[in-house]
């Protein structure tokens, strides 16, 4: 601990803090653009400059460490002039029309200009070369709007370890993006959209499906089914000014009906189904390894997160056999809507349009994968992000905040609390353990509130173990077995875990990986801006939803029992195999043929 002078006040600070940290502690606002919470500062944008006595140049608050007795001014006339000039120069290059920008409501550059009192254009100069990249299924990049803050580079490289985006060329010609200004589909990109989640302007956004969805809704011939991922209900409210962590399940359902969807269902339903299939798959693998002495790909990896699937296919194809063959809940839903539900309701699947609402941009890519047509049609037609649903609700003139709560339709709207927690890191594993433990021992998971606390929370890699005792028939072979599980979120953490497993430093039976930090609640399609504080609030809301459900375990969901009895037969059965499971492709670029 030592003291500094901050705006003429003596302030107590800790070693290692930056000027920005001290200002936050003291409730002083310093604007930032390139800075991203939790990552080493770049000091690239110069928006956070401050005046330090004895220093000739202005100091970037994000990257200047404090030293004892430092005298700092965060808002002197010189500082204000400098910040203003920096933003004016950024604006002079920015090639975009704010009136028609999707970020009109939440553009950080625009708010900054407003906060700094910029009212006239002082600099007229060359503008950034504008080109639009629509090469991928999920993302649109508009280079003209890019202000080169490099937050996307930090997200893509440091958080996800993918590295699709990097500054190319230099000076005014700098372009932040894939190799040599090429399109995104020319490099490896898992389309997680974390770049779009951190972009302060409209330079990276999701590829919108709103128009297509509206067209389907307006077509009297179409039966339009909607499914909503578990993570939407804990975040959608933020699009309408509700505080982070507000659960809006009922209002969301009401809004979807008012928009005009013919059936309002829940991806939770197929999350429960995933547990049945993925849990059975795990037990089959364990039996093969422990009883039959056959080679079995263990640990089994979860397969709900399409960014993670792409990551494995491109970077770690040696682990493809370890991926659960289960489709993600979104895709199971699409395949069942156009078969099971269509038959049940006598709807021509050709006239059925399945729309999903996802916290994710990669789900747009997943829905378009050629493997995802097991109903005979594209199983999921359109994918809206949480942000796009917020926009759609606005477009339809719905007063979201004042809507009544409504219930989802049966049967594909029914779900257990175990399905809700698919939304956050550790949730798929917890849901699986609730079912696997009970199936093999006949007893409840022996943990308070059925929560596996060691694998909850925002730690990057988490693990837990559980000894199976007093096992029931036919699971006696598991008697005394210590089931070891691990959970990672953020692909950088996933890569670290994979390397450890490969080198034999860690070993598990089952591993859950989610692409985005915090899991789906922190997905690339969620309302901006997602900080760790926001993640924690959304996670708390999801656990509250789970705790409040009368049914907490996937195998207890009566609609799940019904679909196995009426349609699927049994987990891993022939119909399941055809509709609910998939295969993966090694996409790693081979070493140059010599």
């Amino acid at each position: 601990m030592f003291t500094i002078q901050l705006n003429n006040r003596t302030v107590s600070v800790r070693e290692g803090m930056t000027i920005l940290d001290a200002a936050k502690q003291e409730g002083i606002k310093i604007p930032t653009l390139c800075f991203l919470e939790g990552y080493s500062p770049l000091g690239a944008c110069r928006v956070c400059v401050t005046e330090v006595e004895g220093m000739r140049a202005l100091a970037a608050a994000c990257s200047t460490p404090l030293v004892p007795d430092m005298k700092i001014q965060t808002n002197s006339p010189r500082v204000r002039r400098a910040r203003k000039s920096v933003v004016e120069l950024l604006l002079s290059e920015h090639e975009g029309d704010c009136k028609y920008c999707t970020r009109a409501d939440d553009c950080e550059l625009k708010s900054l200009a407003n906060e700094l009192g910029i009212e006239v254009q002082r600099y007229e100069g060359e503008r950034t070369l504008a080109s639009t990249d629509v090469s991928t299924a999920a993302l649109v990049r508009d280079s003209g709007k890019c202000i080169k803050c490099r937050r996307c580079v930090t997200a893509c490289n440091q958080l996800q370890g993918v590295g699709a985006l990097f500054p190319q060329y230099r000076g005014f010609a700098t372009s932040v993006g894939p190799a040599f200004r090429s399109d995104l589909d020319s490099v490896v990109c898992v389309q997680c959209g974390q770049c779009s989640a951190v972009c302060p302007v409209g330079a990276i956004t999701e590829k919108s499906h709103i128009k297509e969805v509206l067209a389907a809704l307006e077509d009297p011939e179409s039966h339009v089914v909607v499914q909503t991922a578990p993570a939407i209900r804990a975040a959608l409210g933020e699009c309408f000014g509700l505080p982070a962590g507000t659960l809006v399940t009922g209002r969301m359902t009401a809004a979807l009906r008012r928009i005009g969807f013919d059936s309002v269902f829940d991806t939770n339903f197929t999350a429960d189904l995933t547990i049945m299939e993925e849990g059975s798959e795990l037990l089959t693998r364990l039996k093969a390894a422990l009883v039959e002495g056959k080679p079995a790909a263990l640990p089994q990896f979860s397969s709900c997160s399409p960014g993670w699937i792409s990551f494995t296919e491109n970077y770690f194809p040696q682990f493809i056999p370890n991926l659960s063959s289960c489709k993600s809940p979104q895709q199971m839903f699409g395949a069942l809507a156009k078969t099971y539900y269509a038959a049940k309701k006598n709807i021509d699947p050709e006239k059925m349009v399945v729309v999903s609402v996802m916290p994710c941009t990669a789900k747009k890519f997943e829905a378009a994968r050629p493997e995802m047509r097991s109903s005979g049609y594209q199983d999921v037609d359109y994918v809206l992000t949480t942000r796009e649903l917020g926009k759609l609700i606005q477009l339809q003139g719905i007063d979201f905040v004042n809507l009544p709560d409504e219930e989802m339709d049966v049967p594909m709207g029914l779900s257990s609390g175990a399905a809700d927690i698919f939304a956050n890191t550790g949730g798929v594993m917890e849901a699986a353990l609730r079912t696997v433990y009970e199936v093999t021992t006949g007893r409840d998971l022996p943990m308070e509130g059925l929560h596996v606390t060691p694998i909850a929370g925002l730690e990057g890699i988490k693990e837990a173990s559980l000894v199976l005792t007093d096992t029931a028939d036919p699971w006696k072979f598991l008697e005394g077995v210590e089931v070891k599980v691990a959970v990672a979120h953020g692909l950088g953490n996933a890569a670290k875990l994979l390397r450890d497993i490969q080198e034999g430093k860690r070993s598990y039976h089952f591993v859950e990986i989610m692409t985005c930090p915090g899991g789906c609640i922190g997905g690339g399609g969620q309302p901006r801006f997602t900080t760790n504080e926001v993640r924690e609030k959304r996670i708390a809301a999801i656990y509250a939803e789970d705790d409040g459900k009368p049914i907490r375990k996937s195998h207890d969901n009566p609609a799940i029992k019904e679909i196995y009895a009426e349609f699927l037969g049994e987990p891993l059965g022939q119909k399941s195999h055809h509709l609910l499971h998939t295969h993966y492709v090694n996409k790693k670029e081979p070493a140059e043929a010599v």
Partner: protein, 173 residues
């Protein structure tokens, strides 16, 4: 710089040797890029992808470094790189006219290479030899106080050099 044309196998072996010999040092990317360009003449997409894979550095990051430094080139260069100085002194003493004449003689633009891969044409901004202005560099040879009328003879010199080298290689093979 060498302009030797390698077979794909030789190319790959050479590149792998360069990578192996330098990859352990800290900040290996730039030395490897330099060495690869010096040996192979330019940095092709395959070369950059191999370097990216071997160093586990994302391809976009590798190209970010390559495109940042004007030293690196991603297009094949000729056996002789002709660099015309357009620094202030060379410019006022006729560097521009020298460049125009070279474009005409070689029938290429700045940054391009002749179809026979003999010459590449580039410009520089001061080689630090202003007393010799205007200066033309051909690989490591300095040509001083160059007049446009002398250029044809200078280029012919290198054509001869190339033919002699080819003949010598043919004899030893």
């Amino acid at each position: 710089m060498s302009s030797t044309l390698y077979t794909p196998t030789e190319h790959q072996d050479l590149l792998m040797n360069i990578i192996e010999s330098l990859k352990e040092q800290k900040g290996a990317l730039i030395p490897i890029l330099q060495s690869a360009q010096d040996s192979l003449g330019y940095l092709s997409e395959e070369t950059l992808k191999t370097i990216s894979r071997e160093l586990s550095i994302p391809y976009s990051e590798v190209t970010g470094v390559v495109s940042f430094y004007s030293y690196f080139t991603t297009v094949p260069r000729g056996e002789f790189v002709v660099r015309v100085c357009l620094g202030t002194a060379c410019y006022v003493r006729g560097g521009k006219e020298v460049l125009e004449e070279l474009k005409k003689l070689l029938d290429i633009q700045v940054g391009d290479t002749t179809p026979d891969r003999l010459f590449s044409l580039e410009v520089g901004r001061c080689f630090g030899a202003c007393g010799l202005a205007p200066v033309v560099l051909v690989n490591d040879d300095i040509h001083q106080r160059v007049k446009p009328t002398e250029l044809a003879a200078i280029l012919a010199q290198y054509r001869v050099q190339h033919s002699e080298k080819e003949a010598a290689e043919g004899a030893s093979a």
